[in-house]
Structures are given as C-alpha cells and as structure tokens.
Symmetry: C2
Subunit: 190 residues, 2 copies
DNA sequence: TGTACATCAGTGAACGCGCGTTCACTGATGTAC
DNA sequence: TGTACATCAGTGAACGCGCGTTCACTGATGTAC
C-alpha cells in the first residue's frame, strides 16, 4: 500500500486543500477529520501519517488559505482600473462575490472568532498572515508617511474583515449588501 | 420537585445568563448544555423544561448579551468626557478591557463567524442587534444628513467588530493593542 | 378555606451518534549491499 | 543491476469520550371545586 514520495506529497497537499475549504465553509469545530479525508477517498486513520494532530492541520490550512487570498488580491489590483491598487483590493475583498464564496476567501473573515480560540501555532500563523495582508495593503496605498500608511492599512483591514463577517451574519440580502457598500464607500475615500 | 413560577422564571434567566457567558468565552459549538447547566447545579435533562433546543438558547443568549452591550455603551457615553457620545462608545468598545473580557462584551466580536453559520432565528436576532447598535452609534454621532450618519455608523461598527476580533487572534500583546489603537485613532477622526 | 387532582421543574439514565486519536496489519516503495 | 530487508502510506476497527435529545419518574406547586 505504500505510495511514492510524489504521491505522498500530493496527498498531503490535497488534505490541506480540502481542509482549507471545509474549515471556511462549516467552521473549524464543526469539521471532522472524516469530512476532510472522505472527499479524497481516504480513511481517518491515514490522516496521522501526514499530521500530528487536527490542530496542526488547522494552522497549515489557515496559512495556505491566507497565502492564496493575498495572491488573489495582488492579481485583482493588477487587473483592475480602480484608482489605486488599494482601492482595487478593497473592492475585491468587500464584495458580494467574496461574501458568497463560503468555501474560499479570507479565513480571518470566515473563522475569525474561532481563530481567537485556536491553539498557539494557529494563532501565530493567523497573526503572521494578518500582518502580511496589512503590508500588502499598505504597499498599495497612496503615498503617506510609512508609519501612517501602516496604521491606515490596519484600520482598513479591520473594517474589511468586520464587513464581510457581518454581511454573512445578516440574512436579508439588501441589508447584507448595504453593509458591504457602506464600508467600500468609506474606505474608497482613504 | 416542582418549583414556584418565580423560581422557574429565575432559573430560566440564569440559564440564559450562563449561556451568554460560556458562548462568548468558548464559542457556541464548544459549549455543551452541561457546561451551561452544571454551574447552576442542574442536570442536562432539565434544560428542555425551559427551551425547545440548544439553537433557541443560542438566539436568546445572543440577544440578551447584545442588549447589555448596548446598555453598557449608552452608559459609557454618558459618563465620559469624550468629544462626543460616539467617540466615547468607540473608546469603550475598541478597548483592551473589552478585548480581555472574554466572558462578556459583544457577541458579534466574540462569535461573529459562528453566528454566520447559526440557524435562522439566531441570525435574525444577531442581525436585529447589529442594526440596533448601528442606530445607537448613529444617534450619538455629530450632525450629518441622516442617511450619511447611518452609513458612517455601519462603517464604524464593522471596523470596531473587526478590530476586537483580530486583537483577540493576535497573540503578541503589543501588536494586539496596536490594532485597537490604530482603529480607535481613525474612528476618532469621524 | 380545605381537599383532590392535574401540572410540571428537575433528575438521572439512556438513546444514537460522531469526535480525535491509536494501533495491528498489509503490501508496495525505498534503500543498502 | 539484482536482491533482501526496512520503511511507511493507507486501512479499518477500536479506544474513551462528550454531544443534543428523550423519557419514565418524583414530588412540590398550582388549580378547580
């Protein structure tokens, strides 16, 4: 039954991929290891050939998802005709598309309150990703003193995360979209 | 074993009180009915004399907690020497005290991403509370056209919720406090 | 006001279920000679 | 290059545990007469 090194690496990659999707869709606690392994036609037992614990998977899946979010925003800022790279990123993040993509998007918005209770490694990974995302936003903002830019980027990101999280809580479609529009509009003025 | 009407009502009130505390501390999923009943020296079975399901308790505990948050902010704005009621509320919400009070504080920040996956009733209750809090913030803002005030209040609240949530994710105490300070500073200028 | 009876708050055990993790086992892969 | 053996990816069952919910039962409260 042993697999080649390449197959093993690929399996591990896929486990992280499915986990990143399921954790964002249903939350960390509500996602069991079987929910991650069975879509890959694997059994729970095999999980521990790749990871020491579920916590380790959570940390990796969160990091991986954040990397993809940052890549996606960078791409969005290049392909957009928005006033600035920052404005393009805000538009991409604070969007109905992001809100409605429950299997994808930003882990900080999809599972922020669960991450606040996660173990040390996961919280460290999430904090690092938060910082990385702040840096990317700051780099694409109009020129200001660098200290001020970073502070503005932290503020903007807090509003962006809050907006997407709350737009997902609010049932009514109009009210939900209004939250996104209000936040987008105010951040556009930065 | 039957209790008087008054005792029954008091028990019910206490269940909601403990639930509101535990849900905010450990999250909704991670809190079992026994975690709510045993601090009151009650057994799980008795729970269903007061509520039809755990979901119903979640909705009530969330509403109750939000009502207290709104009361607390209103009180804070009266007792503060801040420039405006709005500024006082921002200071009270985006604070280290709020961040560190894990058994209390705002449910939207403490369990926002879990509320996005909660049942219809809970999400409706959370959405209503979000709206109520927006209204309270808007009422205490400096004069602007009423449409603009509400939009600003939605933006501010998104940033406030995002700030407290992220400050709880970030492990490092300085970085965590910096998030709160950055957001407080930017909202102060509104 | 007193009595008979229905109600129901709370108990404690049980229901079926899924969780994260462990483990003996299988058999193909990787490696040392 | 060929062979013998160690490694280890994956299986499937089991571990102990806690979950939300149900239920028969107890006995004090509430109510109808």
């Amino acid at each position: 039954m042993r697999k080649t090194k390449g197959e093993t690496a690929e399996t591990r990659r896929r486990i992280v991929e499915v986990a990143a999707r399921e954790f964002r869709l249903n939350g960390i606690q509500a996602t069991g290891l079987n929910d991650v392994m069975s879509p890959l036609n694997l059994t729970q037992g095999g999980f521990y050939r790749h990871f020491a614990s579920k916590d380790q998977l959570v940390a990796e899946a969160c990091s991986q998802a954040m990397t993809e979010v940052i890549e996606g925003l960078t791409t969005a800022s290049c392909n957009s005709q928005a006033a600035s790279g920052f404005a393009a990123m805000v538009e991409a993040y604070v969007s109905q598309a992001h809100r409605d993509t429950r299997t994808g998007g930003c882990p900080l918005a999809a599972m922020g309150s669960e991450l606040a209770r996660a173990d040390k490694q996961t919280r460290a990974a999430a904090a690092q990703s938060f910082d990385d995302l702040v840096d990317v936003l700051a780099k694409h903002m109009a020129d200001k003193p660098s200290q001020e830019v970073r502070s503005s980027a932290v503020f903007a990101l807090a509003a962006m995360i809050g907006a997407v999280t709350m737009s997902r809580v609010v049932e009514d479609s109009d009210a939900s979209t209004a939250i996104l529009e209000d936040v987008k509009q105010h951040l556009g003025a930065m």
